[in-house]
Symmetry: C3
Subunit: 207 residues, 3 copies
């Protein structure tokens, strides 16, 4: 199980790195900008979490695998983006996997740091969504997730469920599986919902 979470974690890191790279590409950034945006998107949430909880050096300092995955994903995206025609839905589904895994990892890290359940849930959401927020700021946009409720809400529900099952009931594996399923399904349901339901004032959004 631990092994599976670690693999999914690296998968999430790669996915978020690709999403950061694509955002950088839209802004005509060069290779270095692409790598920077990939890095903050993929590692930013966990870094902020580690700083807030004062967990010592950021998690990717002691395990460079994370950074290596990011750099490879960013360079591959930079080179392949004009060749391979990535199906938009593939990225969205992969992003939902990353969000679900990051939420679980963030919540569990906070649990191990022995803070209150409320803070554990906040740290789970922080790990899941902060990277994307920094990406949007660096790309000169108002963070999208501040305008699309259900992204963070999916993470919030997953974090609460994970905390309740793991901390209160003491069942780790069911906590991981159920939390993952909830975040993932809520997020995918939200995408469908987003497509069908227009916003109240779409032309005022991007003032």
């Amino acid at each position: 199980m631990q092994q599976l979470i670690y693999m999914l974690d690296l998968f999430g890191v790669a996915i978020f790195a690709i999403s950061g790279s694509l955002a950088a590409g839209k802004k005509q950034m060069d290779l270095f900008g692409v790598v920077v945006l990939a890095t903050v998107t993929a590692l930013g949430g966990g870094t902020v979490r580690d700083m807030i909880l004062d967990l010592g050096p950021a998690f990717w300092v002691t395990n460079p695998t994370y950074l290596i995955v990011v750099v490879i994903a960013a360079i591959a995206t930079f080179m392949l983006v004009r060749i391979i025609d990535l199906h938009p839905k593939a990225l969205v589904i992969a992003d939902a996997v990353g969000l679900a895994v990051f939420t679980i990892i963030g919540t569990e890290k906070a649990l191990n740091a022995d803070v209150s359940g409320f803070i554990c849930v906040v740290m789970g959401v922080t790990t899941g969504v902060f990277g994307g927020m920094i990406r949007d700021i660096l790309a000169g946009e108002i963070p999208l997730i501040l305008q699309k409720e259900i992204y963070a809400t999916a993470s919030l529900c997953g974090a609460i469920v994970f905390y309740l099952i793991y901390s209160v009931l003491g069942l780790r594996e069911p906590a991981v599986i159920i939390s993952f399923a909830i975040t993932f399904c809520l997020r995918l349901a939200a995408i469908k919902w987003d497509i069908s339901l227009p916003r109240l004032s779409p032309n005022e959004k991007q003032k």
Copy 2:
């Protein structure tokens, strides 16, 4: 006295949370965006201070009351903003209270961390103004306080006065009272001054 400062601290947190919520509302953010902007506005300055001074986990990790106050204030603002017609001056005066209290708390926390007086003053100002700066960046604006001198200057004067009276003379309660009065009055005076005195090049400001 300690009790009074704590109450004013929570009051300042609630006020800054409301100010963050209103900024989020202007940008058509949803409930989650409102809560995030409320959180960074209210807790961002103190969090950055705790990270720079390496004071362990951020202050709101060990005392969740802060975060609870933020969430309640944000949700209440989100729900009531269309019903209650908040007098703009009420918010401005409350904001000045928050600025004055945050400045005192930040300066004192740095004093307790045993750093030089210069750093204490810088940390007082950081605690007072950084939350608002992050709020503006997330909302896609150039931070207003970088363009309105007297906001931070009021905090600066309050921090210097608090440091001098408390650290040099050893009088804590007079330091709190006089520092509070100076920041608060300077800020209110500045608002009047801002209204009457136009800027040199107002139409170039928001390029």
Copy 3:
């Protein structure tokens, strides 16, 4: 040698403070905004590095000389910018000195923190370029260095060379001198190159 590096470090801090002040001036910021932008530009990279590596309080907390240099440089720029006609090339060359020195200091600090070589190089680049990134965000711009590859690339090459010579060969002084020369020369060469080589899609850049 240590003394020389420290002098160059303070020189780099002053230069980056001036660059931050000029960016603030362009945005019609007042004196406080100028000082804040000067501070984040000059000290931001090192502060983020110290937080990520968990090196205790930020480096300028225990040695206020840095902050004093920043404030003096910022106020001097604010007052003199209309009087003295600074040659643009002087600033660019001085900036290259700062970038080269910051890269060496960041890489060495990470080396002393006993992290892997990969992380050392990343921390060298972070120290060199992060301050400028935060400056641009606060000034409401997409960070320029994300769009101008050779700025960070110069820092990257300098960091790699410093790490290899110092860590693998154990020669500190040659490492400093060669790393400095590489970053500095690459950066100056890049400026010439930037002038002569137009970007692929210049009018889409600042979308």
